[in-house]
């Protein structure tokens, strides 16, 4: 049997499924937990970055002499201080501009000084001569034939002839015959949609503390979703050996995909190398907004056909995503997700990756899927409205299920979409009456989830406790889940396991904490490492008893003879075997190093009631219910937390969050005042229902849950608002001015 297969069909769990206090909890409620900006070092300098005020300009010259001459300034770096041969050329260019600055906020020089005041003063002494170039920030405008071009070389081989050079790639998925499908429909609706760029909005700005000596050995403390990746990229950008750099992941104050790459880290290392002193860098909130990854803004055209009885006959989606100034918008993912929820005979989804003068997009929770779902699920809702059909029934009728062909190619394994829809249909929320000016929205959502390279080490201690080392930063309580899974396997109490996110020198490579992979992949690794340790423990018991290792089994936290033939021996508990391990053969650790490939997809159905004030266009979310397939909930409270958090991020994206650029190409709302993430008083309680359809690719059936929860809200809210207001909203955010304008246009 493969290592990543579900083997718990009849298992009765003892630890898994309970809700213990998280191991890092006390540190986090007392202020002791150390995040990115909380570390300091003797002799530490403060680093600061000079950023472009222009959306697009050629750098004719940079004169840093006055800044260098300012007392207290210890080092200044520009692009010349980095590896000209770096493999990660776009990442380098984004961290430190070369010939051109490509967006408002693009870094082009940096310095280290004795304190932040001196550093800020010195930044103002750097003189830059720019040749300002025409810019473009809108995705549709960037695709126009006469748009300002960011990269003369244009896109890759997939881009058809005749498109703007700003189109970096094109992708297409689907099967069947669209014309035939649309001909079978009783109603075909075609509609265009736009979504604004939304920022991940983690409350902790990017921060790091770097120390790189003349001997080429370095240390880096950083808030990141993946310190191994930070290590490898920084080593590349600085031209050093990766293992000479030891990276420690601090506690991380939110990431949501936005902390899966580097921004400050290589710069801090370069400054430290030049100054021969530790350098700390912390972004301001405005820097976070201007220069780190929001997600793509998008423009999409959707066409869907349906019969009178609610069968979807064909679907077409054309997705245009801008990903900032570099290729890599998640439009391929988006295009694959467009129709993932539906079993369509005739389907096509196309994607264009477009660059423009904005910060390089970074992954944001199910990258690409929320926008795609917004457009498709809105049209599904319109069809239901026009045909007088129940939106949940229609979705059940057309739902993807085991064995049907996904719109992006493969046949589905065991999945839980239908279960979430049935749960929605049965939910009290779906039957509750609506008040005046209220509407109810329904939407489904899908995300792939990911496995990724994973190493863990599970070391037993003489006192019968366990030190579990993982390499995936804990972004939402995963240490608690790891402790639960280790405790479950070993049959010991939860609090006898301590899980630590260890540094890059202490463990083999681990992929980033992304793709909803941690509880899946590090969890699988933990289970397998515990099983490895149990096997070793059984071998020790066998030695002690003088019997064959195969004649020993592990049950209830004890080694036991496997049957009468194995002899009559008192069971050896975990603690006793640990206490004697030094003399029975030496220390025992369990290991796992592999790339689990059995990540299970996760589907969700969301229900929302929204109320629209017809005089002001203000929307109030009155009731919200998240129903999602978790496969198996290890720590249900944190599963619910993922559901609730994703839903609320989606609510913000739907209603108020957006990057607003002026005619000058500058970001106008680079702060939490005008980039409006939801506040406590905006929201109702977020009800949750965990559906458990086991993932065939995980021993306990775990599916990642972190990302899918942000997929349905955009459409669910849009459907609720459109029904409440009586006018279809096709552009996000559905801000009050936009809703009021739509209402007025309808009245007019």
């Amino acid at each position: 049997m493969a290592f990543d297969e579900y083997d718990s069909e009849t298992r009765i769990f003892s630890a898994v499924g309970t809700r213990p206090v998280r191991p890092d909890g006390v540190d986090k409620v007392t202020g002791r937990a150390l995040f990115g900006a909380d570390m300091s070092a003797p002799g530490m300098l403060t680093g600061a970055i000079l950023r472009s005020p222009h959306a697009h300009a050629r750098i004719k010259s940079i004169d840093t002499s006055k800044a260098e001459a300012l007392p207290g300034v210890k080092a200044v770096v520009t692009r010349a201080d980095f590896n000209a041969e770096a493999d990660n050329a776009d990442v380098l260019d984004n961290c430190m501009a070369g010939e051109k600055v490509l967006y408002d906020g693009h870094a082009l020089a940096a310095l280290a000084a004795i304190n932040p005041r001196v550093a800020q003063k010195a930044l103002r002494l750097i003189e830059v001569d720019y040749e300002v170039l025409p810019h473009v920030t809108d995705v549709d405008a960037a695709m126009a034939p006469d748009a300002p071009v960011l990269r003369a070389e244009g896109g890759n081989e997939s881009v058809p002839e005749g498109l703007s050079k700003n189109v970096m790639s094109m992708c297409e998925f689907g099967h069947g015959d669209l014309d035939k499908g649309f001909a079978e429909a009783d109603l075909v609706i075609e509609k265009s949609f736009k979504t604004a760029a939304a920022h991940q909005g983690y409350i902790e700005p990017h921060a790091c503390l770097a120390s790189l000596g003349a001997d080429g050995r370095g240390e880096l403390w950083v808030c990141t979703q993946g310190h191994f990746v930070v290590r490898n990229i920084c080593a590349d950008l600085l031209g050093m050996d990766s293992t000479q750099l030891r990276v420690v992941a601090s506690e991380i104050g939110g990431g949501f995909g936005g902390k899966t790459t580097v921004f400050l880290e290589p710069v801090a290392l370069a400054l430290s190398r030049k100054a021969s002193r530790p350098v700390k860098m912390v972004m301001s909130r405005s820097e976070v907004f201007r220069a780190t990854g929001p997600t793509s803004s998008t423009s999409m055209d959707i066409k869907i056909g349906m019969t009178k009885d609610g069968r979807m006959t064909a679907g077409l989606a054309v997705n245009r995503f801008q990903g900032g100034a570099y290729p890599g918008a998640p439009v391929d993912m988006g295009a694959m997700c467009s129709f993932a929820c539906y079993n369509l005979e005739n389907v096509k989804s196309v994607g264009y990756d477009v660059i423009c003068n904005r910060p390089k997009q970074a992954a944001y929770r199910a990258p690409g899927s929320p926008m795609a779902a917004f457009a498709v699920e809105s049209v599904v809702d319109m069809l239901c409205q026009e045909l007088g059909l129940d939106p949940v029934e229609v979705r059940i009728k057309n739902a993807s299920r085991e064995g049907t062909k996904a719109s992006y190619g493969p046949r589905w394994p065991r999945i839980g979409l239908e279960e979430t829809l049935e749960a929605a249909k049965a939910h009290a929320h779906y039957k509750a009456p609506l008040g005046p000016n209220q509407g109810r929205g329904v939407s489904c959502g899908f995300w792939f989830n990911h496995g990724g390279e994973t190493s863990v080490s599970l070391a037993l201690s003489q006192d019968g406790t366990v030190a579990l080392s993982v390499g995936t930063p804990d972004i939402g309580g995963s240490r608690a889940s790891m402790c639960l899974m280790a405790a479950e396997e070993l049959g010991i109490p939860y609090d006898k396991v301590r899980t630590t996110v260890v540094d890059t020198a202490s463990l083999g490579y681990n992929d980033v904490s992304h793709g909803s992979r941690v509880t899946y992949a590090s969890g699988l690794a933990t289970i397998k490492a515990a099983r490895d340790a149990k096997q070793k423990l059984c071998a020790r018991a066998a030695k002690i008893w003088g019997i064959d290792p195969d004649a020993v089994t592990w049950e209830d936290g004890m080694a036991k003879p496997s049957g009468h033939n194995a002899g009559d021996h008192d069971p050896l508990p975990f603690s006793k075997l640990c206490a004697t391990m030094g003399r029975t053969g030496g220390p025992i650790s369990g290991h796992f190093e592999a790339t689990p490939e059995g990540a299970g997809v996760s589907f969700a159905t969301h229900l929302v009631d929204a109320e629209v004030d017809p005089e002001t266009g203000a929307t109030k979310v009155v009731r919200y219910t998240v129903i999602q397939d978790a496969g198996k909930a290890i720590h249900p409270a944190y599963v619910e937390g993922q559901f609730q958090g994703g839903a609320v991020q989606g609510i913000g994206w739907a209603l108020n969050e957006e990057y607003i650029y002026g005619e000058d190409g500058r970001l106008q709302n680079a702060g939490f005042l005008d980039y409006r993430i939801p506040v406590a008083s905006d929201l109702p309680m977020i009800d949750t229902e965990i559906v458990e359809v086991p993932n065939p690719g995980h021993p306990y059936g775990v599916r990642g849950v972190g990302e899918t929860s942000i997929v349905p809200p955009l459409a669910a809210i849009a459907n609720a608002v459109s029904r409440a207001a009586g006018v279809r909203m096709t552009e996000l955010p559905m801000s009050p001015p936009r809703i009021l304008a739509a209402l007025d246009a309808q009245d007019g």
Partner: protein, 286 residues
Amino acid sequence: MRYEAPNTLDRAVDLLAAEGGVTRILAGGTDVLVQLRSGMIEPDLILDIKRIDGIYDIVQEAGGYRVGAAVPGAMLGEHEGVSAMWPGVVEALELVGSTQVQGRATLAGNLCNASPAADSVPAMIAAAATVRLHGPDGTRDVPVEEIGVAPGKTSLKKGEIVGSVFLPPRSDRAGDAYLRFIPRTEMDIAVVGAAVSLSLDGDTVADARVSLGAVAPTALLVEDAAKALIGTTADEAACTALAAAASAACNPIDDKRGTVDFRVKVAGVLATRAAKIAMARAKGDA
């Protein structure tokens, strides 16, 4: 940058007058510190007024209340007398920022920051509040509506400082209210603000003042809107006229917070809603 925290208004005025460079008054600091941090201002002198004797006092005067320049929103809200007499002013100041900001933000600071969107300013204008300015040439009392002259600019002269805000007395059959529109429920800058203060003779509006925020370069005192109410019972016809007058007075801009059309329309909606609340308060119904 120099930081000074004098104990008297006279000393404060002397320090301001003597400083040749850029000065900033630090009351609650909720705007000044943001401007400092962003590099928008680089003052040579920060003058903290919070050590000035009596600057936190709220005292009864001539039937109204004199509110010291350092009194934060949280303190004003806890003052029963002011809250009973001028609930609209109190709720307007309490709308500024978060609970945390309420621990610091002041009426005087909100006024002198001279943002057209300041929440407490329309409420103070509707209340016919005045401020007492202390300067090298002595003190003078000025109506609130004469302080802001343009976004970020006041009519204060070199060396002048606001020492207090005076909320005048009013009859028992009077009420005020302030409403603003923001995209969220908290934490935003007003997209439109509307304040109404009125007094009744029987059930008829005897006198009224209507002020709008965030719809012009400064907060507006809209006399036509007041006229629409005076002599009526604030019935539907009066409210329709009030809304039309309020909308007509707007001279807004399109910006990241709202559009011209939105502000013009919602100004009328909010003026009407505020008038209804003020009426209810005047009648003792709310």
